[in-house]
Subunit: 170 residues, 2 copies
Amino acid sequence: MSVVLEAIYTRRSIRRYAPDPVPEDAIREIVRAGMNAPSAGNEQPWQFVIIDRREILDGIPTVHPHAAMIREAPVAILVCGDLTLETKQGYWVQDCAAATQNMLLAAAALGLGSVWLGVYPRDDRVTGLRRLLGIPETVVPFALLPVGHPAEHKPRKDEFHPERIHRNAW
Amino acid sequence: MSVVLEAIYTRRSIRRYAPDPVPEDAIREIVRAGMNAPSAGNEQPWQFVIIDRREILDGIPTVHPHAAMIREAPVAILVCGDLTLETKQGYWVQDCAAATQNMLLAAAALGLGSVWLGVYPRDDRVTGLRRLLGIPETVVPFALLPVGHPAEHKPRKDEFHPERIHRNAW
């Protein structure tokens, strides 16, 4: 089995973290993985906010209903779509999602745990994070990834549903 | 360097394919990688159409303006969003994009080449593919991935733009 396929099948959403700090190099590598995602016409419409100040991390659950675990995380990365960078209208969401998936795989490959907390298209989360972090109106908070050393372990996922596969016609 | 990170940095959009057939096992593995993507509330709103009949592949460029390379590809996979499976409103696009990115990485890991051809949200492409493949109105053609043995080789991409990284505030 390819190491890459194995990584895809074993990556899980990790919501509990040890208090140990995450090395700056690892965070940089996770963001770099995001930046190497494909995008429509190579528009790369993304921006990233690394959050490691405790009081800001602790403020996030007040603007995101499913982010309580972030009080335990040493760091989080907010993936944003920059509408001023979109050259192929309507594709920034897909581009940012591809970047986010790369980042989750990179975190797991580095022995770290993370989880995709959906932000866009929930207006209250978008607005709340914009205000908390001083993000301009042309930039849309898209997904939030707490990152930490895993304090929970989950088995391989291995989803396979042959009934979802069609051939040459529906 | 982790094999997974290396895979993320070396994956490229491959648009030229050798005529050799792609083993059925490889296609199944690529789809399985898609099915193991994370999704909002684990809704897994995806469906997949494997296209390997020559006359259907050759018809695709008539409904998609950037799909000429599919005449060379032995097989293609259409990722679709099934609106009847969406439980977290507004997230099916992100979920399908995460699945698509997993599939591109899986194809590369298997030594195959592919490229993300955007379908949704372009109405003409969505409608044209629906008609060509008999896809119901509740299912949205999302992205099309030709798959073949690579007949072009591209260098490592290695995008990194530190000016896109912000810390604790914009």
